[in-house]
């Protein structure tokens, strides 16, 4: 049963989806049907050490870097309009392959050129981000971007983190000013 995530909510993945090996983060939205520039939403993931920073720039998984060096995180590619049913972008995470020195993975959603195009999630129809158990496709959690991040152009959806041998998912739902560049810098990526 999918949990509708509120800010700060925790999901113990091992409890909600026991035996979870592969998780898919799905990002979806409707293509723009009013006049104006397309809504180009981008999913990204940051593999972080205990200090909250990446080991190197290759730990930043996004539309220009689709696979992590350890093969634990894979981005399925850039969707620039939201055209198509269901998830428009996905980030696949294989929990067993995550290296020991990675303590958490931050999952983010940004609007490409959001500030320049004067766009925010509120203007995008049916934008959401969700976690799915790849085995069986059960949705574990979902966050409604259009409703609950209406004034944002970038946000930290949640963090996958280790806790006493279990993987947990914490819903962050926090907006970030400036877009993907500043967001990546904040995690130690050289932009």
């Amino acid at each position: 049963m999918a949990i509708s995530l509120q800010k700060g909510g925790n999901v113990n993945l091992s409890k909600e989806a026991p035996g979870l090996k592969k998780m898919v983060i799905g990002l979806g939205w409707d293509a723009r049907s009013t006049d104006g520039a397309d809504f180009d939403l981008d999913g990204s993931a940051f593999l972080l050490k205990a200090d909250g920073k990446v080991r190197s720039d290759t730990d930043f998984i996004f539309y220009n870097n689709l696979k992590s060096t350890c093969n634990s995180v894979t981005h399925t590619g850039d969707n620039r309009t939201g055209q198509g049913e269901g998830d428009d972008e996905s980030v696949i995470i294989e929990l067993d392959k995550i290296p020991a020195d990675i303590d958490k993975i931050s999952i983010c959603v940004t609007i490409h050129e959001g500030a320049a195009r004067n766009q925010n999630f509120g203007m995008v129809s049916k934008a959401y981000v969700r976690c799915v158990n790849a085995n069986g496709n059960a949705e574990v959690a979902r966050f409604d971007l259009s409703e609950d991040s209406s004034t944002e152009t970038a946000m930290i959806f949640g963090e996958l983190y280790r806790n006493s041998g279990d993987w947990k998912f914490k819903a962050v739902g926090q907006g970030f000013k400036g877009g993907l560049g500043p967001l990546a810098s904040s995690y130690g990526v050289s932009v």
Partner: protein, 193 residues
Amino acid sequence: MSVNLQKGQKISLEKEAGGTLNKVIMGLGWDAAKKKGFFGFGTRTEEIDLDASCIMFDEQGKVIDYAWFRQLKTKDGSITHTGDNRTGAGDGDDEQIIVDLQKVPAQAKSLIFTVNSFTGQDFSQVENAYCRIVNASNNQEIARYNLSVQGAHTAQIMAKLYRHNGEWKMYAIGENGKGKTFEELMPQITPHL
């Protein structure tokens, strides 16, 4: 403490109002832009007849009823339009639409508020357009959305009041459109439902 909305913003009305809401007033206002007179002497204000309307939609996007200058009250009495202002003269709200949230039927999902230029002038001659929502029980303004509307269009889809997860929310739409009345605007309204 009224919140100033930005385009795309969605707020929970009761959260902003700080309590249960029974009746709200959607106030709509605008100024006709001042035009220079002959040889730059003096100014005159052209009369612009803008009409506010409220259309009630169900979950499937079908129209349930509407309140506008041709029908000031919905058949169920939940929405009342206070009457046609044909010039925009006067300070404050030029037209008001009162919504009795308790009477709005259960199957109503969204209320869309629009402004149309009935006499056909476009919005390049309109200034200071805004819509604001007021708690009718204490006259406190809950939120305001200032629209920069100037342009060649003849209609504005201002805002939507809608039910989401059991509470009433407001969405600042602020999209330009075309049409003398809301009927002509309908196809442009549906993407926002």
